[in-house]
Amino acid sequence: MSDLPTDSTIHAATDALTAVRQPVGTARGLPNAHYTCPTLFEDEATALLKTTWAGLAVASDVPAPGDAKPITFLGMPLLLLRDKSGVVRVFNNVCRHRGMILVAEPRRIEGAIRCPYHSWCYATDGRLVTTPHVGGPGINTAPDIDRATLGLIEVRSHIWRDIVFINISGTAPDFEQVHAPLIARWSALDQPQHHGGPDSHFTLDVASNWKLAVENYCESYHLPWVHPGLNSYSRLEDHYNIVAPQQFSGQATHVYRQLTDAAGHRFADYANLPAFWDQGAEYIALYPNVLLGAQRDHSFAILLEPLSHNQTREHVHLYYATADTDADLRAANSAQWKQVFEEDIFVVEGMQRGRAALGFDGGRFSAAMDAPTHCFHDWVATRMQAARAP
Protein backbone atom coordinates (compact mmCIF):
# COMPACT_ATOMS: atom_id res chain seq x y z
CA MET A 1 0.00 0.00 0.00
CA SER A 2 1.41 3.37 -0.98
CA ASP A 3 1.62 6.15 1.56
CA LEU A 4 -1.20 8.66 1.39
CA PRO A 5 -0.18 12.15 0.37
CA THR A 6 0.20 14.41 3.37
CA ASP A 7 -2.71 16.63 2.37
CA SER A 8 -5.09 13.67 2.16
CA THR A 9 -4.01 12.49 5.57
CA ILE A 10 -4.60 15.90 7.02
CA HIS A 11 -7.98 16.22 5.38
CA ALA A 12 -9.01 12.77 6.57
CA ALA A 13 -8.02 13.62 10.10
CA THR A 14 -9.84 16.94 9.94
CA ASP A 15 -12.96 15.30 8.53
CA ALA A 16 -12.90 12.73 11.33
CA LEU A 17 -12.77 15.43 13.99
CA THR A 18 -15.54 17.35 12.26
CA ALA A 19 -17.63 14.18 12.41
CA VAL A 20 -17.09 14.12 16.18
CA ARG A 21 -18.21 17.72 16.54
CA GLN A 22 -21.77 17.00 15.39
CA PRO A 23 -24.90 16.74 17.52
CA VAL A 24 -24.63 13.72 19.80
CA GLY A 25 -27.16 11.62 17.93
CA THR A 26 -25.31 11.78 14.61
CA ALA A 27 -21.72 12.28 15.77
CA ARG A 28 -18.95 9.72 15.34
CA GLY A 29 -16.53 8.98 18.11
CA LEU A 30 -12.85 9.86 17.87
CA PRO A 31 -10.98 7.74 15.30
CA ASN A 32 -8.91 4.71 16.30
CA ALA A 33 -5.62 6.56 15.94
CA HIS A 34 -6.48 8.68 18.95
CA TYR A 35 -6.13 5.51 21.02
CA THR A 36 -3.51 3.52 19.14
CA CYS A 37 -0.99 5.95 17.68
CA PRO A 38 2.01 6.94 19.82
CA THR A 39 2.55 10.06 17.73
CA LEU A 40 -1.01 11.21 18.22
CA PHE A 41 -0.64 10.46 21.94
CA GLU A 42 2.16 13.03 22.01
CA ASP A 43 0.08 15.52 20.01
CA GLU A 44 -2.78 15.06 22.45
CA ALA A 45 -0.41 15.44 25.39
CA THR A 46 0.31 18.94 24.14
CA ALA A 47 -3.21 19.92 23.11
CA LEU A 48 -5.12 18.31 25.97
CA LEU A 49 -2.79 17.98 28.96
CA LYS A 50 0.12 20.44 28.79
CA THR A 51 -1.87 23.50 27.71
CA THR A 52 -4.73 22.96 30.14
CA TRP A 53 -4.99 22.40 33.88
CA ALA A 54 -4.12 18.73 34.31
CA GLY A 55 -4.41 16.87 37.57
CA LEU A 56 -0.95 15.80 38.76
CA ALA A 57 -1.17 14.77 42.42
CA VAL A 58 -2.81 15.67 45.70
CA ALA A 59 -1.38 18.05 48.28
CA SER A 60 -1.83 15.27 50.81
CA ASP A 61 0.98 13.45 48.99
CA VAL A 62 3.32 15.90 50.77
CA PRO A 63 1.62 16.34 54.12
CA ALA A 64 4.41 17.97 56.15
CA PRO A 65 6.75 20.94 55.56
CA GLY A 66 9.83 19.72 53.72
CA ASP A 67 8.07 16.74 52.13
CA ALA A 68 9.19 16.17 48.56
CA LYS A 69 7.81 13.70 46.04
CA PRO A 70 9.31 13.20 42.59
CA ILE A 71 6.69 12.57 39.92
CA THR A 72 7.19 11.76 36.26
CA PHE A 73 4.29 13.16 34.25
CA LEU A 74 4.17 12.74 30.49
CA GLY A 75 7.86 11.95 30.65
CA MET A 76 8.71 15.17 32.49
CA PRO A 77 10.58 14.94 35.81
CA LEU A 78 8.62 17.02 38.29
CA LEU A 79 8.93 17.59 42.01
CA LEU A 80 5.96 18.11 44.31
CA LEU A 81 7.31 20.08 47.27
CA ARG A 82 5.86 21.55 50.45
CA ASP A 83 8.11 24.33 51.69
CA LYS A 84 8.94 25.16 55.28
CA SER A 85 5.99 27.56 55.51
CA GLY A 86 3.56 24.93 54.24
CA VAL A 87 3.10 26.16 50.66
CA VAL A 88 2.87 23.37 48.07
CA ARG A 89 4.48 23.95 44.69
CA VAL A 90 5.54 21.97 41.66
CA PHE A 91 9.01 22.37 40.19
CA ASN A 92 11.06 20.73 37.49
CA ASN A 93 12.99 18.08 39.43
CA VAL A 94 16.15 19.23 37.75
CA CYS A 95 19.29 21.04 38.89
CA ARG A 96 19.87 24.31 37.01
CA HIS A 97 23.57 23.43 36.66
CA ARG A 98 23.79 20.36 34.43
CA GLY A 99 20.22 19.05 34.50
CA MET A 100 20.73 16.32 37.10
CA ILE A 101 17.67 14.84 38.76
CA LEU A 102 17.55 16.29 42.27
CA VAL A 103 15.22 14.04 44.26
CA ALA A 104 15.07 10.35 43.38
CA GLU A 105 12.66 9.08 46.03
CA PRO A 106 9.94 10.66 48.18
CA ARG A 107 11.57 12.03 51.34
CA ARG A 108 11.60 14.80 53.91
CA ILE A 109 13.95 17.68 53.08
CA GLU A 110 15.39 18.60 56.47
CA GLY A 111 17.32 21.67 55.36
CA ALA A 112 18.08 22.13 51.68
CA ILE A 113 17.82 20.03 48.54
CA ARG A 114 21.38 19.07 47.63
CA CYS A 115 22.06 18.01 44.08
CA PRO A 116 23.91 14.67 44.27
CA TYR A 117 26.16 15.66 41.36
CA HIS A 118 27.94 18.94 42.33
CA SER A 119 26.00 19.75 45.52
CA TRP A 120 24.27 22.90 44.35
CA CYS A 121 21.70 23.46 47.12
CA TYR A 122 18.14 24.74 46.88
CA ALA A 123 15.75 25.91 49.58
CA THR A 124 12.35 24.24 49.71
CA ASP A 125 10.83 27.33 48.10
CA GLY A 126 13.09 26.78 45.08
CA ARG A 127 15.77 29.43 45.73
CA LEU A 128 19.35 28.50 44.84
CA VAL A 129 21.27 29.03 48.07
CA THR A 130 24.78 27.83 47.35
CA THR A 131 26.94 26.73 44.43
CA PRO A 132 29.95 24.92 45.92
CA HIS A 133 33.31 25.44 44.19
CA VAL A 134 31.63 27.07 41.17
CA GLY A 135 34.42 29.63 41.05
CA GLY A 136 37.16 27.09 41.78
CA PRO A 137 38.03 24.91 44.79
CA GLY A 138 36.73 26.57 47.91
CA ILE A 139 35.22 29.50 45.97
CA ASN A 140 31.42 29.27 45.91
CA THR A 141 30.67 32.24 43.69
CA ALA A 142 31.38 33.17 40.10
CA PRO A 143 30.68 36.39 38.18
CA ASP A 144 28.38 34.74 35.61
CA ILE A 145 26.43 32.62 38.10
CA ASP A 146 23.53 34.76 39.34
CA ARG A 147 21.78 32.66 41.94
CA ALA A 148 18.71 34.86 41.84
CA THR A 149 18.03 33.69 38.28
CA LEU A 150 18.91 30.04 38.80
CA GLY A 151 16.32 28.82 41.26
CA LEU A 152 14.26 25.74 40.56
CA ILE A 153 11.99 26.18 37.55
CA GLU A 154 8.49 26.34 38.91
CA VAL A 155 5.57 24.74 37.08
CA ARG A 156 2.39 26.75 37.31
CA SER A 157 0.07 25.03 39.75
CA HIS A 158 -3.24 25.47 41.51
CA ILE A 159 -4.75 23.46 44.33
CA TRP A 160 -8.48 22.81 44.45
CA ARG A 161 -10.12 20.24 46.68
CA ASP A 162 -6.58 19.06 47.64
CA ILE A 163 -5.89 18.25 43.99
CA VAL A 164 -2.70 19.76 42.56
CA PHE A 165 -3.45 20.92 39.03
CA ILE A 166 -0.62 22.01 36.75
CA ASN A 167 -0.44 24.07 33.59
CA ILE A 168 2.80 23.00 31.92
CA SER A 169 2.63 25.56 29.12
CA GLY A 170 2.01 28.47 31.46
CA THR A 171 -0.51 29.83 28.96
CA ALA A 172 -3.88 28.65 30.23
CA PRO A 173 -6.21 31.20 31.80
CA ASP A 174 -6.31 31.08 35.58
CA PHE A 175 -7.76 27.87 37.01
CA GLU A 176 -10.57 29.70 38.76
CA GLN A 177 -11.55 31.29 35.47
CA VAL A 178 -11.39 28.08 33.43
CA HIS A 179 -13.29 26.02 35.97
CA ALA A 180 -15.63 28.66 37.33
CA PRO A 181 -18.72 26.63 36.34
CA LEU A 182 -17.83 23.54 38.39
CA ILE A 183 -16.48 25.63 41.26
CA ALA A 184 -19.85 27.40 41.34
CA ARG A 185 -21.82 24.16 40.95
CA TRP A 186 -20.02 22.66 43.94
CA SER A 187 -19.74 25.84 46.01
CA ALA A 188 -21.64 24.19 48.88
CA LEU A 189 -18.93 21.53 48.95
CA ASP A 190 -16.19 24.15 49.24
CA GLN A 191 -15.11 22.83 52.64
CA PRO A 192 -11.96 21.18 53.97
CA GLN A 193 -11.42 17.79 52.35
CA HIS A 194 -9.73 15.49 54.88
CA HIS A 195 -7.74 12.79 53.14
CA GLY A 196 -8.50 9.46 54.75
CA GLY A 197 -4.81 8.54 54.90
CA PRO A 198 -2.92 5.49 53.63
CA ASP A 199 -5.98 3.27 53.65
CA SER A 200 -7.86 5.78 51.52
CA HIS A 201 -5.48 5.79 48.57
CA PHE A 202 -4.92 3.12 45.93
CA THR A 203 -3.77 2.86 42.34
CA LEU A 204 -5.08 0.81 39.46
CA ASP A 205 -3.11 0.10 36.30
CA VAL A 206 -5.26 -0.13 33.20
CA ALA A 207 -4.16 -1.28 29.75
CA SER A 208 -5.95 1.48 27.94
CA ASN A 209 -5.66 5.04 26.73
CA TRP A 210 -6.52 7.51 29.50
CA LYS A 211 -9.39 8.99 27.53
CA LEU A 212 -11.32 5.71 27.69
CA ALA A 213 -11.32 5.92 31.48
CA VAL A 214 -12.88 9.39 31.21
CA GLU A 215 -15.43 8.24 28.63
CA ASN A 216 -16.57 5.33 30.77
CA TYR A 217 -16.64 7.23 34.06
CA CYS A 218 -18.87 10.06 32.93
CA GLU A 219 -21.83 7.97 31.79
CA SER A 220 -24.40 5.99 33.75
CA TYR A 221 -25.49 3.90 30.72
CA HIS A 222 -23.13 1.07 31.68
CA LEU A 223 -24.03 0.92 35.38
CA PRO A 224 -26.72 -1.81 35.27
CA TRP A 225 -24.44 -4.19 33.37
CA VAL A 226 -20.99 -3.47 34.72
CA HIS A 227 -21.98 -2.56 38.30
CA PRO A 228 -25.01 -4.80 38.97
CA GLY A 229 -24.60 -4.26 42.71
CA LEU A 230 -26.08 -0.81 42.22
CA ASN A 231 -29.30 -2.09 40.66
CA SER A 232 -30.98 -2.84 43.97
CA TYR A 233 -30.93 0.77 45.13
CA SER A 234 -29.72 3.05 42.34
CA ARG A 235 -31.48 2.16 39.14
CA LEU A 236 -30.67 3.61 35.76
CA GLU A 237 -33.72 5.86 35.95
CA ASP A 238 -32.42 7.32 39.20
CA HIS A 239 -29.46 8.79 37.32
CA TYR A 240 -29.25 11.83 35.11
CA ASN A 241 -26.63 13.34 32.82
CA ILE A 242 -24.45 16.37 33.55
CA VAL A 243 -23.16 18.09 30.43
CA ALA A 244 -21.12 21.31 30.44
CA PRO A 245 -19.74 21.71 26.89
CA GLN A 246 -16.00 22.32 26.73
CA GLN A 247 -15.79 22.06 30.53
CA PHE A 248 -16.85 18.84 32.20
CA SER A 249 -19.44 16.11 32.05
CA GLY A 250 -20.71 13.30 34.20
CA GLN A 251 -23.71 11.77 35.81
CA ALA A 252 -25.56 12.01 39.08
CA THR A 253 -27.95 10.01 41.16
CA HIS A 254 -30.96 10.91 43.29
CA VAL A 255 -30.55 7.89 45.55
CA TYR A 256 -27.11 7.88 47.16
CA ARG A 257 -26.98 5.33 49.96
CA GLN A 258 -24.62 6.00 52.84
CA LEU A 259 -22.29 3.31 54.07
CA THR A 260 -22.99 2.18 57.63
CA ASP A 261 -21.36 -0.29 59.97
CA ALA A 262 -23.13 -3.05 61.91
CA ALA A 263 -24.06 -0.59 64.65
CA GLY A 264 -25.51 1.89 62.17
CA HIS A 265 -22.66 4.37 62.44
CA ARG A 266 -21.88 6.40 59.34
CA PHE A 267 -19.46 9.10 58.28
CA ALA A 268 -20.16 12.67 59.36
CA ASP A 269 -21.75 14.88 56.71
CA TYR A 270 -20.19 17.94 55.19
CA ALA A 271 -21.67 20.99 56.88
CA ASN A 272 -24.67 23.00 55.72
CA LEU A 273 -25.34 21.16 52.48
CA PRO A 274 -28.48 21.96 50.46
CA ALA A 275 -31.26 19.37 50.54
CA PHE A 276 -30.19 17.87 47.19
CA TRP A 277 -27.22 16.26 48.87
CA ASP A 278 -29.38 14.32 51.36
CA GLN A 279 -29.74 11.60 48.77
CA GLY A 280 -27.99 13.09 45.75
CA ALA A 281 -24.47 12.41 44.52
CA GLU A 282 -22.55 13.67 41.50
CA TYR A 283 -19.77 12.05 39.51
CA ILE A 284 -18.01 14.48 37.20
CA ALA A 285 -15.08 14.22 34.81
CA LEU A 286 -13.23 17.52 34.95
CA TYR A 287 -11.33 17.75 31.68
CA PRO A 288 -8.84 16.62 30.94
CA ASN A 289 -7.91 13.94 33.45
CA VAL A 290 -9.58 14.31 36.87
CA LEU A 291 -12.59 12.20 37.82
CA LEU A 292 -14.50 13.46 40.84
CA GLY A 293 -17.15 11.99 43.08
CA ALA A 294 -19.12 14.00 45.62
CA GLN A 295 -21.51 12.70 48.25
CA ARG A 296 -22.90 14.13 51.48
CA ASP A 297 -20.34 12.32 53.66
CA HIS A 298 -17.27 11.75 51.53
CA SER A 299 -15.69 12.55 48.19
CA PHE A 300 -13.06 11.10 45.95
CA ALA A 301 -10.70 12.12 43.18
CA ILE A 302 -9.25 9.86 40.52
CA LEU A 303 -6.20 11.31 38.81
CA LEU A 304 -5.52 9.68 35.46
CA GLU A 305 -1.81 9.38 34.74
CA PRO A 306 -1.25 8.75 31.02
CA LEU A 307 1.71 6.39 30.79
CA SER A 308 1.49 5.71 27.06
CA HIS A 309 -1.10 5.59 24.31
CA ASN A 310 -2.39 2.32 25.76
CA GLN A 311 -1.49 2.40 29.44
CA THR A 312 -2.92 4.50 32.26
CA ARG A 313 -2.42 4.56 36.01
CA GLU A 314 -5.42 5.63 38.08
CA HIS A 315 -4.60 7.29 41.39
CA VAL A 316 -7.65 7.14 43.65
CA HIS A 317 -7.94 9.31 46.78
CA LEU A 318 -10.86 9.37 49.24
CA TYR A 319 -11.74 12.31 51.46
CA TYR A 320 -14.02 12.92 54.42
CA ALA A 321 -15.77 15.84 56.09
CA THR A 322 -13.85 15.36 59.32
CA ALA A 323 -10.27 14.48 60.14
CA ASP A 324 -11.39 11.80 62.57
CA THR A 325 -13.18 8.87 60.94
CA ASP A 326 -13.67 5.25 61.93
CA ALA A 327 -10.87 3.11 60.52
CA ASP A 328 -13.03 0.09 59.81
CA LEU A 329 -15.64 2.17 58.05
CA ARG A 330 -12.93 3.90 56.00
CA ALA A 331 -11.46 0.57 55.00
CA ALA A 332 -14.89 -0.70 53.99
CA ASN A 333 -15.52 2.42 51.92
CA SER A 334 -12.16 2.13 50.16
CA ALA A 335 -12.81 -1.54 49.44
CA GLN A 336 -16.26 -0.75 48.08
CA TRP A 337 -15.02 1.91 45.69
CA LYS A 338 -12.04 -0.20 44.67
CA GLN A 339 -14.40 -2.98 43.69
CA VAL A 340 -16.51 -0.58 41.63
CA PHE A 341 -13.50 0.86 39.81
CA GLU A 342 -12.02 -2.59 39.22
CA GLU A 343 -15.31 -3.63 37.63
CA ASP A 344 -14.75 -0.92 35.01
CA ILE A 345 -11.34 -2.22 33.98
CA PHE A 346 -12.49 -4.93 31.60
CA VAL A 347 -14.70 -2.58 29.57
CA VAL A 348 -12.07 0.14 29.37
CA GLU A 349 -9.40 -2.36 28.35
CA GLY A 350 -11.85 -4.02 25.98
CA MET A 351 -12.51 -0.72 24.22
CA GLN A 352 -8.77 -0.21 23.90
CA ARG A 353 -8.32 -3.62 22.24
CA GLY A 354 -11.31 -2.86 20.04
CA ARG A 355 -9.58 0.18 18.66
CA ALA A 356 -7.25 -2.11 16.75
CA ALA A 357 -10.20 -3.11 14.57
CA LEU A 358 -9.61 -1.77 11.07
CA GLY A 359 -12.69 -0.05 9.83
CA PHE A 360 -14.12 0.77 13.27
CA ASP A 361 -15.37 4.26 12.67
CA GLY A 362 -15.13 5.65 16.18
CA GLY A 363 -18.59 4.46 17.08
CA ARG A 364 -21.87 6.19 17.73
CA PHE A 365 -23.55 7.77 20.71
CA SER A 366 -26.96 7.32 22.26
CA ALA A 367 -28.48 10.79 22.38
CA ALA A 368 -30.26 9.88 25.62
CA MET A 369 -27.49 8.03 27.37
CA ASP A 370 -24.09 9.01 25.93
CA ALA A 371 -24.23 12.81 26.00
CA PRO A 372 -21.55 13.09 28.72
CA THR A 373 -19.18 10.85 26.76
CA HIS A 374 -19.81 12.73 23.52
CA CYS A 375 -19.26 16.00 25.38
CA PHE A 376 -15.73 14.80 26.19
CA HIS A 377 -15.11 13.65 22.61
CA ASP A 378 -16.28 17.04 21.41
CA TRP A 379 -13.85 18.78 23.81
CA VAL A 380 -10.98 16.63 22.53
CA ALA A 381 -11.87 17.23 18.90
CA THR A 382 -12.22 20.97 19.45
CA ARG A 383 -8.82 21.28 21.08
CA MET A 384 -7.13 19.06 18.50
CA GLN A 385 -8.59 21.09 15.62
CA ALA A 386 -7.48 24.30 17.30
CA ALA A 387 -3.98 22.89 17.81
CA ARG A 388 -3.73 21.97 14.14
CA ALA A 389 -5.05 25.27 12.85
CA PRO A 390 -2.42 27.26 10.95
Binding site: P137, G138, N140, T141
Partner: protein
Amino acid sequence: MRSLDQRLCAAHAKNDISTLVALYCEAATAAETTTQKGFYLTHAYVYALEAAHPDALRLHAQLCSLGKEL
Protein backbone atom coordinates in the same frame (compact mmCIF):
# COMPACT_ATOMS: atom_id res chain seq x y z
CA MET B 1 43.77 6.63 66.11
CA ARG B 2 42.33 6.64 62.62
CA SER B 3 43.42 9.32 60.27
CA LEU B 4 41.05 12.11 59.35
CA ASP B 5 40.70 10.61 55.88
CA GLN B 6 39.70 7.26 57.32
CA ARG B 7 37.17 8.88 59.63
CA LEU B 8 35.71 10.91 56.76
CA CYS B 9 35.36 7.83 54.60
CA ALA B 10 33.63 5.99 57.42
CA ALA B 11 31.22 8.88 57.95
CA HIS B 12 30.47 9.07 54.21
CA ALA B 13 29.81 5.34 54.12
CA LYS B 14 27.23 5.72 56.87
CA ASN B 15 25.89 9.04 55.56
CA ASP B 16 26.49 10.37 59.05
CA ILE B 17 25.83 14.05 58.36
CA SER B 18 26.58 15.40 61.84
CA THR B 19 29.92 13.63 61.86
CA LEU B 20 30.70 14.83 58.34
CA VAL B 21 30.09 18.43 59.38
CA ALA B 22 32.37 18.04 62.38
CA LEU B 23 35.12 16.27 60.42
CA TYR B 24 35.15 18.75 57.56
CA CYS B 25 35.39 21.54 60.15
CA GLU B 26 38.33 19.67 61.65
CA ALA B 27 39.91 19.47 58.22
CA ALA B 28 39.35 23.20 57.68
CA THR B 29 41.03 23.97 60.99
CA ALA B 30 44.05 21.91 59.97
CA ALA B 31 44.20 23.38 56.47
CA GLU B 32 47.46 24.98 55.47
CA THR B 33 46.12 27.40 52.85
CA THR B 34 43.06 29.59 52.50
CA THR B 35 42.02 27.63 49.44
CA GLN B 36 42.12 24.37 51.37
CA LYS B 37 40.31 26.00 54.29
CA GLY B 38 37.58 27.26 51.93
CA PHE B 39 37.30 23.83 50.33
CA TYR B 40 36.74 21.98 53.60
CA LEU B 41 34.51 24.67 55.10
CA THR B 42 32.36 24.48 51.95
CA HIS B 43 31.87 20.77 52.45
CA ALA B 44 30.98 21.27 56.09
CA TYR B 45 28.57 24.07 55.10
CA VAL B 46 26.83 22.08 52.33
CA TYR B 47 26.20 19.08 54.54
CA ALA B 48 25.05 21.36 57.36
CA LEU B 49 22.64 23.10 54.96
CA GLU B 50 21.23 19.82 53.73
CA ALA B 51 20.58 18.55 57.25
CA ALA B 52 19.44 21.86 58.82
CA HIS B 53 22.42 21.45 61.13
CA PRO B 54 22.71 24.17 63.83
CA ASP B 55 26.19 25.13 62.55
CA ALA B 56 24.96 26.03 59.05
CA LEU B 57 24.63 29.76 59.74
CA ARG B 58 28.00 29.96 61.48
CA LEU B 59 29.72 28.12 58.64
CA HIS B 60 28.09 30.43 56.11
CA ALA B 61 29.34 33.44 58.04
CA GLN B 62 32.86 31.98 58.13
CA LEU B 63 32.87 31.43 54.38
CA CYS B 64 31.57 34.95 53.79
CA SER B 65 34.33 36.39 55.96
CA LEU B 66 36.85 34.53 53.80
CA GLY B 67 35.26 35.96 50.66
CA LYS B 68 34.16 32.48 49.51
CA GLU B 69 30.37 32.87 49.79
CA LEU B 70 27.56 35.34 49.28
